[in-house]
């Protein structure tokens, strides 16, 4: 994705904030919609430079569609990981093998790397400790594979195939 101009970023911020406002108020009453638009326009003045460098190019139908698909997919991954960690906690043999592994990512944008890092952190059992360029340092409750390629395939790839489409 290429970097966007100021007006582009401003409109993108207004759109995202307005959608958030509608989700927050959870109503389509006219007064809330009008006030929400005014608030979005005002808040975006002070904050459009922070949200994203790429502006409206985030909002292609394909990216939005993948974002909507990613939410339940991610939830499913979290549920699976929950059962895995619960098993490791409850099993009397205590099958843990904690360690820190390197995970490579092909994501180019900062927001994409952040989404990947947070997806890994919020999944039980794995925790992103730091991000340096294209490498994530991940703490893993059971190190199945110490190599960079193996860890990337186990931890990063399940999320990355969607995040690649959403954030590029």
């Amino acid at each position: 994705m290429e970097k966007a101009g100021k007006l582009n970023k401003y409109i993108f911020t207004v759109v995202v904030l307005y959608v958030s406002w509608i989700l927050l108020t959870a109503t389509t009453r006219a007064d809330e919609l009008i006030v929400g638009l005014i608030v979005s326009l005002l808040v975006a003045i002070g904050s459009f430079d922070y949200l994203s460098e790429h502006g409206l190019s985030h909002l292609t139908p394909k990216r939005v569609l993948y974002l909507i698909i990613y939410a339940p997919y991610y939830l499913w991954q979290v549920i699976l990981a929950n059962f895995d960690v619960a098993y490791r906690v409850l099993a009397p043999s205590m099958p843990i093998k904690p360690g820190i592994v390197k995970v490579k990512t092909n994501l180019k944008t900062d927001s994409g790397k952040l989404a990947l890092a947070n997806s890994i952190t919020m999944t039980p059992g794995t925790l992103t400790m730091d991000v340096k360029d294209d490498t994530l340092l991940v703490h893993w409750i059971y190190v199945k594979d110490e190599t960079v390629e193996g860890a990337t395939k186990e931890i990063g790839t399940p999320f990355e195939k969607y995040l690649k489409e959403i954030f590029g």
């Binding site: 995202v16 958030s20 108020t25 007064d31 808040v43 975006a44 922070y50 900062d110 927001s111 992103t128």
Partner: protein, 237 residues
């Protein structure tokens, strides 16, 4: 030994006083007559569906004006303290560079924090929360930026302007109410509107928006003072 006797007498006096105090009130009867009045009449008189707001901003609006002033005094006190300390401060430069997640995450979440804080104080008369809470949330957004980007500085002139204008709005609304016939300071002179609508409860939402801006500016100023004690002034000497 004498000390123990004195203590015992002291304790007995306190217990006796408490017993006599509570004996004057019948057990199990509702004593909150003021609270009862607010609960029964608050919605009809102020038009705010959030009773807490109707008490804080309408019935005790003058008290809230005092609270806002106290907050201003506290912010000024912090500023004075750090201004004086700046003379003989220690050099603090061992600040680790913020983590990637903090840096990028705070940029992305900052607009949403501003929006959420605004949402809280605009809906102060309808839902839990209000000017103080919303303002604090907005200031926390600035704190996040200060933590993620140690070079950040919010313009103090702009903060002072926002704070002054917000305070002025509050006081002028109150004074306008005083000028109307048969009314009082902070009299709710605007129409009450329909219950639960965004434009209801007369001047309450306007006052809460003003308080929101004022609190946000004051807390952002405190954040600026404290973070600059650590970061901004570290270099100059």
């Amino acid at each position: 030994m004498i000390r123990k006797i004195v203590y015992s007498i002291f304790l007995a006096t306190i217990v006796l006083a408490l017993v006599m105090f509570f004996a004057a009130y019948p057990f199990g009867k509702n004593k909150m007559t003021v609270g009862e009045y607010y609960l029964n009449n608050g919605v009809a008189q102020t038009g705010a569906s959030n009773i807490v707001t109707s008490v804080v901003v309408d019935y005790r609006g003058f008290d809230t004006l005092g609270e806002v002033s106290v907050l201003f005094g506290a912010a000024a006190g912090v500023a004075i303290l750090f201004f004086v300390l700046a003379e003989n401060r220690r050099e603090r430069k061992n600040i680790t560079s913020p983590n990637f997640v903090v840096k990028v995450g705070s940029r992305i979440i900052f607009p949403f924090i501003l929006l959420f804080g605004t949402y809280i104080f605009i809906h102060g008369h309808l839902t839990p929360g209000g000017g103080f809470q919303g303002g604090s949330i907005i200031a926390s957004g600035f704190l996040l930026l200060y933590l993620a980007y140690p070079g950040t500085r919010v313009s103090r002139k702009k903060l002072s302007a926002v704070e002054g204008l917000a305070g002025l709005t509050f006081v002028l609304l109150g004074l306008y109410g005083l000028m109307l016939p048969e009314s009082s300071f902070l009299f709710n002179f605007l129409p009450k509107g329909q219950l639960n609508a965004l434009l209801s409860a007369g001047i309450l939402p306007i006052i809460y928006i003003a308080i929101g801006f004022k609190v946000a500016a004051e807390f952002a100023g405190i954040v600026d003072d404290m973070m600059c004690e650590v970061i901004c002034r570290g270099g100059e000497k």
